[in-house]
Assembly symmetry: C2
């Protein structure tokens, strides 16, 4: 793999701070290394082993062979949060958020939140297709997330009128303990599982991510390869060779100084969902009321997603002039997928000087460097992260890098990265209100 | 218009505070009222008069008659920031973010940031159409925003090979002082102007917003009607009858207490761009280094956009358990555009209890109320804003309400809401680097 470049000079974190916290993380780093070697799913951190798991790819391949007909055109992914954000991130990174123009490749439809208008459009669209043209993937770890169950029931109820064997065109991804697993067995619906201990937001290299991507024809081995590399780097001793460790300590440095907003500023408009995937990873993993000693801490770093260059015309005024409460990560591609060269003679010349003959890629980079320079002049702390290209390998590296970074950060913050106890607060109320029929 | 409901009970702001700052804003409120009556564009706040301006609608209608052929199918909007976010907000509110399924209505393509892949797809798509099937709107107040100029030049250069009279299918929106205005004249390109004093982010009721919407067949008079109502409410004396005044003072109350993050939590997945429109309005208007007395203040409220119910599975853990640094506005629809009723007999029954026979709209409301209850239990401050429906009138009301709220807030913060001096910081660098060809 080409090099993944992290430039942390503008973070201005003292060497001594880095070394101190590197030492504090020493035993945790070794623990992570031993998990990869253990080849099992027994620890909360066991997701680091996922990209090395050959059985997983084997299970997925078999199901793909069985379900993917030559005329497969549409994949409907019913899932929310960690269960769909990772896949959405990859699909959009390659194809853009709206694949209106790409009718040759397999088209993804994401059903996450409840939106009856969207659900009805989808039903109407699918009811005149052949059943071999689509597959519905229903991902829910617990099998009890209201939104996705509502969407699944609505869609499958409506489509079952048009397709006698609709259940043959459904794949369920869930945990073995969930009631959904049993329903899949009883109704003869194809089902893949995820290890009990792996949470959705650390699950992109489990069946949650690998199955949809494999069905869509992506070479998932390259995706795993990038993640393997990131994991191997992420257990290195040397902080310079260990990007997740470095990034975690830098973020922690600013958190300790009261800078509790983290801004991922992505300079490629196809990476917005990748930003949102990380946003939920950080928010759910680090936003905790209590630390590991049951002390009330109300910890948390609020993640922002900013898009270059759009947010230079939306948010940059407050970033440059407002409160100094943000630590920024610029994320960019060393090389764009395609490029356009402006002609020597522009249709409306001289609106802006010196554009003639330049390429889009050059201009994006000029804008990126100018933005970083403006940050530097205002003494705003940032790092930059350069992905070599938009490839599955790079994206696999990036996602594994971020998951390891969050594990290290949680360790520094002395919290549990793997639970989300307070999400239950509203879920309990939902169940009560559904029961009492409060609205209706 | 049906009622626009603001519930501010859970903001817990003392009556005395409200009255004190209502009094402080008394003269500004009167000033705004007089601007509406003045029927002119002389003040920075003159955007409040835009929805009352009959000449504007007349100019737009004439151009629509001239340029809109019966077979118009595609509108390409080249603009960034305030120049396109408002239109995007309206289009997506009605049609969703990807109008893949709605091939009957006029399709919008937004070219904002530089993304060569997207630009090439668009070129390829358009080059085989008839010229009467598309229109290109190029919106740039200054005519000198790098990204949109690059996109305009690239698109028009490529398309000019296929369409001899391409300039006839282009409409420019700019200010009279801009070099772009002169280019439009010289090249015989249709051009509409915006009043010199109106900034893009307050310009949704100017030609920037009205022309694209009118071309797409929206009844822009209803859009204006909602905005007129919001403006008339926004100059009322009574704080209970004046939503923008009330909302501004509530936000200011928390800002003074150090709560400097503002979270708009929208419970309809088609409203994400509406959230982003407000995000730029707040960030650019309130993020200022200096106040009106030239004192260094580094003021600013960092706006977040959260989407219900998606972000309940992404962000809500940190919102409920993390630092209490956010003031939340829940925004919801009293009535969804369409609805789906779940059957009495579900395809996979009993995954979640009590879903049978409920409608999507009921379930969304149950989730919304449950979320607000969870916020209440954690004593997190919030208000809720209920739009009666997804109509142009409601959206017009909402947007004008927000613009007035930001004006009142800027007045309370003693800053200029209408400039963005620090955006120039990186723009200067861009020009220098283009000149020096630093990257090449």
């Amino acid at each position: 793999m080409k090099k993944f470049i992290i430039d942390s000079i503008q973070a201005h974190v003292p060497k001594r701070f880095l070394l101190t916290y590197q030492k504090k993380l020493e035993s945790y780093r070794k623990e992570l290394a031993s998990i990869i070697k253990s080849k099992s799913y027994e620890m909360l951190e066991s997701s680091v082993y996922l990209p090395f798991d050959l059985n997983l790819i084997e299970d997925v391949s078999q199901l793909v062979k069985q379900k993917k007909h030559a005329d497969l055109k549409y994949i409907i992914l019913i899932g929310i949060g960690g269960a769909n954000l990772g896949v959405k991130a990859i699909i959009e990174a390659f194809h853009g958020s709206c694949s209106f123009f790409k009718q040759k490749q397999i088209q993804f439809f994401f059903l996450d939140t409840i939106n009856p208008q969207w659900c009805l459009s989808l039903i109407k669209f699918l009811q005149n297709k052949r059943s071999s043209e689509f597959l519905i993937i229903f991902t829910s770890s617990s099998g009890q997330t209201t939104e996705v169950v509502v969407n699944f029931e609505s869609l499958s109820h409506a489509l079952s009128k048009h397709f006698k064997n609709l259940f043959h065109r459904i794949i369920i991804i869930t945990k073995k303990e969930s009631p959904l697993f049993k329903k899949a067995q009883t109704n003869n619906i194809a089902c893949l599982t995820i290890p009990s201990i792996i949470g959705d937001r650390f699950g992109i290299f489990s069946t949650i991510g690998i199955l949809p991507l494999a069905l869509a024809g992506f070479d998932v081995k390259n995706f795993q390869k990038g993640a393997q590399q990131a994991a191997l780097n992420g257990i290195q001793n040397s902080i310079e060779e260990n990007p997740p460790l470095l990034s975690a300590i830098l973020t922690y440095f600013y958190y300790k100084q009261g800078i509790s907003i983290h801004n991922t500023f992505l300079f490629d408009s196809n990476m917005e969902s990748l930003g949102k995937w990380y946003r939920q990873l950080m928010a759910e993993s680090l936003g905790k009321k209590q630390d590991l000693d049951k002390k009330n801490v109300r910890t948390g770093i609020t993640p922002l997603v900013s898009m270059g260059t759009v947010d230079l015309h939306s948010m940059v005024q407050i970033y440059l002039a407002g409160p100094k409460d943000k630590f920024t990560n610029f994320v960019y591609l060393e090389k764009t997928q395609q490029d356009i060269k402006l002609p020597k003679k522009l249709p409306l010349p001289q609106l802006i000087e010196d554009l003639e003959g330049k390429t889009h890629e050059q201009i994006i980079k000029i804008i990126l460097f100018s933005t970083m320079l403006a940050y530097k002049k205002q003494r705003l702390p940032f790092i930059s992260i350069g992905l070599p290209d938009m490839s599955l390998e790079s994206l696999g590296y990036y996602m594994q890098f971020r998951m390891l970074e969050i594990m290290y950060l949680a360790k520094l913050l002395n919290i549990n990265a793997f639970d989300q106890p307070n999400v239950e607060d509203y879920k309990k109320e939902v169940r009560r209100m559904l029961k009492e029929g409060v609205i209706g």
